[in-house]
Symmetry: D2
Subunit: 397 residues, 4 copies
Amino acid sequence: MGSRLGVLLIGSAGAVASTVVAGVELMKKGAPRLGMITETDLGQAVGVVACEDLVFAGWDLRNVDLYDAAWGHGVLPKDQLMTVEKELRAYKPWPGVTSDAFIPGDNGKNIVPASSFRDEIRIMREQVETWMKAQGLSRVVMVNLCSTERYIEPEEVHNSIAAFEAGLDKNDKRISPAMKYLYLAIMMGIPYANFTPSRSNVPALEKLSEDKGVPIAGEDGKTGQTLLKTVLAPAFRVRQLKVDGWYSTNILGNNDGRILHDPGSNKTKVTSKIGVLGSILGYEVPDHQVHIHYYRPRGDDKEAWDNIDVLGFVGAPMQIKVNFLCKDSILAAPLVIDLARLLDAAQRAGERGVQYQLSLFFKSPYKVAGKPLVHDLFEQHTILRSWVDKVSPKLKA
Amino acid sequence: MGSRLGVLLIGSAGAVASTVVAGVELMKKGAPRLGMITETDLGQAVGVVACEDLVFAGWDLRNVDLYDAAWGHGVLPKDQLMTVEKELRAYKPWPGVTSDAFIPGDNGKNIVPASSFRDEIRIMREQVETWMKAQGLSRVVMVNLCSTERYIEPEEVHNSIAAFEAGLDKNDKRISPAMKYLYLAIMMGIPYANFTPSRSNVPALEKLSEDKGVPIAGEDGKTGQTLLKTVLAPAFRVRQLKVDGWYSTNILGNNDGRILHDPGSNKTKVTSKIGVLGSILGYEVPDHQVHIHYYRPRGDDKEAWDNIDVLGFVGAPMQIKVNFLCKDSILAAPLVIDLARLLDAAQRAGERGVQYQLSLFFKSPYKVAGKPLVHDLFEQHTILRSWVDKVSPKLKA
Amino acid sequence: MGSRLGVLLIGSAGAVASTVVAGVELMKKGAPRLGMITETDLGQAVGVVACEDLVFAGWDLRNVDLYDAAWGHGVLPKDQLMTVEKELRAYKPWPGVTSDAFIPGDNGKNIVPASSFRDEIRIMREQVETWMKAQGLSRVVMVNLCSTERYIEPEEVHNSIAAFEAGLDKNDKRISPAMKYLYLAIMMGIPYANFTPSRSNVPALEKLSEDKGVPIAGEDGKTGQTLLKTVLAPAFRVRQLKVDGWYSTNILGNNDGRILHDPGSNKTKVTSKIGVLGSILGYEVPDHQVHIHYYRPRGDDKEAWDNIDVLGFVGAPMQIKVNFLCKDSILAAPLVIDLARLLDAAQRAGERGVQYQLSLFFKSPYKVAGKPLVHDLFEQHTILRSWVDKVSPKLKA
Amino acid sequence: MGSRLGVLLIGSAGAVASTVVAGVELMKKGAPRLGMITETDLGQAVGVVACEDLVFAGWDLRNVDLYDAAWGHGVLPKDQLMTVEKELRAYKPWPGVTSDAFIPGDNGKNIVPASSFRDEIRIMREQVETWMKAQGLSRVVMVNLCSTERYIEPEEVHNSIAAFEAGLDKNDKRISPAMKYLYLAIMMGIPYANFTPSRSNVPALEKLSEDKGVPIAGEDGKTGQTLLKTVLAPAFRVRQLKVDGWYSTNILGNNDGRILHDPGSNKTKVTSKIGVLGSILGYEVPDHQVHIHYYRPRGDDKEAWDNIDVLGFVGAPMQIKVNFLCKDSILAAPLVIDLARLLDAAQRAGERGVQYQLSLFFKSPYKVAGKPLVHDLFEQHTILRSWVDKVSPKLKA
């Protein structure tokens, strides 16, 4: 599948998105191609697009080119970044949509000049169409990389396509920016991944994606601490060590962390992180705590400290401590590329609606009726591998 | 399979063995049955013997009853141990065999009074036969739980059955105690597991086990640090995070630790621990170090500290530190019970020679011709599960 | 000073108090005398009372003997505790005073049957006098070991002796249990230490202690994490390493931890822990966070994890992580004995009011007009040592 | 004391030395002046030379300018380094002296072309004199920053001035490079600090420094793990917590680490690190272990992991783990500047021989007859402060 793939990033000047674009430019110049499962035989089997053929664009509320953005986020070393300055300067985000109700604080003035929700969607559609034409793109995917929106429970407006469409007509404030982007994607036939914990796949939009035959996947990229949880918990299950308590704390100092100071956004995030253990272990862990704190000195270098109490033979207690000095955006960026490539493959393979085989990438995989929700990283890997085996003959043909 | 199973423990007054026996007594009185995969549906599927039907005996160079032994090792809390004093007092080890060449230091005087290797084996055979008769046992397994012997490379005497038999006739000092016990087991048709890193399955004995149709398994129980390695490494492979270095250090203060101060025994152990990463990751980790130090204050509470350096997207470095405050014998004991039960099931199912499906339990699984050596805990689990599915219809019938 | 010393413990069935009493009984039988500075030449210089001559009594809202109390708290190993069962059974707490406004949750029914604040104080005075007579005690000290009360800012009723006395007459709810005990101590001429962060030394009572010539000291025993802070921060100052952030989290699962789930009590505690750095370093640490979480599996074994970010030469960042697996009550108990002995020495030396030289023992030492507030452990030690040098000639004479 | 100070660095292209010089250039341009006690009022009191007035030169076996050297060591971020490229390019090391017997491996070809020891010393003296003249310097100090030499016990040749001089005449191989530099310094009246654990202050040279009236100080800069030891141990002493074991391990991947793979050099280093605890605590710690491992992925970012076992009240065990992610050269460099300035002040104050007040900077302070060897960081600080108070009136006058 040699042809090019357009990748639309929501929050394109953020830490993850700017790392994705900078990383692709660096890899074109020889940086090691690590962190992506689509760079193995698995990617070859479904004919994923080469790094060289990825084309990026996107929206951000801050009007800043991607070189300045990446420099400011401090994810990649500055001397490494300097080698792709020219390329990154060329990327400038389109104005996007926002909402005081869903996104705390001032996040920038680069906002679509629209008079209504319908007008916003129309303008964004034109942005995409103009870009596709200019770039000569026929295939495009979209990935949500925005900061975490406030936690919501779906209401009537979110529960049926009709109610949602009516809500758009009435500028219903319960419709979040994330939902508008997803609506846009589905209506344009663009596969969509939600890498954030923000709730976008409300029932109305999940139904719409199936009706329109658009692959979607989410939610909340499984990067650091939760990745390790879904690795260690299966081992405890195999060894029948009972998890008696699991205390997790996270410190991070990037913009993501700042937004998580808002209790509403924090709740969205913690809810997403807390659910993984029970389904893997087969019982609820009595004391499972997850804390996230904004801590400026850490910058983008998110740090997790976990203390796990397990009971072994005849109830004897043992402790495991894990200290993960990770880089949030470094862990996230390659998954964004994997998702873009695999969503494209899914569309080519004729898949529609929620993509179960992409659970591997998420903290809270979207549920699929009739299939078990799987958090165990290795089971998720087996599911992806089986899907690849199934579709690869078709995609190669 | 309601009938009883005899379990012969080599090193029966050691920390692991005394914990096994004390644990079984405690579980009979209601202690939680944790740490054993054979206590799940997997055990039921092959009809494993109940805890209540396990009968123990064994050899030790120290002539001490199992209550005093367990008290001295300090593995289980003393108030818990007191509740099974009467039961443990009844267990007294038989005299065993030793060797200055293989086992450093003075390890006790409880030695078989024999004039030759052949005489030693004859006496031990009588010990076992007398006990089986007294207990009315028809099924027996043997597990090696002795301290680590010195590292050896197999020589001629170890390489053919004929040479080995001739070596026994000549009291050849290159035949270690561990080999004598294994020889005894095979000649008596008793399934055998080597839970230590000592080299017992030399080619001569592996061939003999196949000829005689006796299931054997080994070697070196996968308990703490190595267990976690075979859990984390598969995750790095799935996520394509490149392991750039892995520094592991262990401190422990039990008798096992003291013996590992001997450079020969230490080499045996480190060799066993170092091999797991390459086969899981598909490349050799450039800086993989494993250190083991005797550190008295820790007692049996072995502690591992691991620092793992991984390279992510575009080569960005990240670090993971794992501090495992484990109890060596608590992790080991339930695996001994699992092995005893599953070796018995294997014998009932007609298996012979090296038991590939038991790789799950070992740091350095015995190789089987024509089958890949698997270290990944989850792949090992899948292999065991498949075997259970295969043999369970027969065993239930 | 061979004669005996009575020690009154508020919260005498709590984890710390029961450990104090059990520990003294164990030391009488040969347990190592560790953790107490008064067991060094410093104690000899002021003629402290021997362990054998300490006599305990006290109040607790739970009516439980100290053996059952200590057993339940799980601080000392059970086999060790059993050796002093008889001695501990003899200790039964007196009924005490409580307050819904200050102490969250149900903490027991062992409450002084009194109709008014004045009546409560009268009854408690009788308890003490009866006991002193029965034991033949002429010297007594009191230590507050109760759970943390809710945070308060002093109001009018707390600010003058007259207003406080009037408040007692009117049963003013802003007068906390801790204040009543302190009032009782002062009126009886009993030296008093506040080992908790509860606010008892309001201006009215501090003035009263001076008027009556009673030594007092507080507040909040400096045990685990804060102890290490006041040790590491002086080193950073000496080396001119700039502390750019200090993230501290604590997990503990004892009753103390449960009460700290109450936001009011948590605030009292965190406020006490947060203040130490600035005064040692000479600048406010930009990101100094302290978190405390109730985490059941840890029991009394409080665990602290600290991440410290320091800037060195030309601003280069470095990190130090400290993981303290401590036992809260084990750290606290010997300080209680130190305080009892040194308050007694202070009284014998004619000291009155706040005892500056005891700052060493506290997270938030009481301020003394005209003297700098010192948090640096080593400066505090020097201050104590100087005081000892000053008073020891008098006390020996 | 506004005039300029020359600083001679032995090993001037090494990680520490290149960081010292780069750092001074960066500080001249506004980088924060951290890590140096001489930047506080203490430095002002003895009139230390300003950063702007420090002039560097030195010897190195590698013929590489300091920009390339610093770039290769990877201590400072590359974008920071770039800002002082021009300044660093100007520094090129002089050829130095070496010895196969003392320095393992090939360390470069930049060697003084001399036919004898006496000839080496003559050439180096000319290097220094030429440079002083060119720079117009009247005051100079020397600091040894070379890699660790092999461990030696002093023999006859090291024990008297006469024997040493005779040894120089005979090119005695037991005279190490470090001793030659020290001899040179003393003969030129240049104060000298030994920042390495190499043995240079043999009795002959210590005597010579007194005879010639030259201040000297050493040895082995107290940077990371040992710094923390001399901070924590005093706290354990104050709190009477008994240290039952202290396990320290270090991983580092710079050239220093590579050389410590040599068992002889490793012994020199470990010996230097192991001695500090006993003198602070007043008893030998039963299990004090220090391990150092070369681990490439860490580069110059030395990492230490310490596990400390302490016994508290009635012998209860507790554990403290410290993980120090430091940068070896970042911790060392400011101490080199402190030493240079304070040795200069000492010379101006008329001090001669071993400078006791500089113990603060060393793992193994040189002994001074009649004075206690002090390791406690805070006592060392008090000693330095007292000396400053004593000499500052004279130095200001």
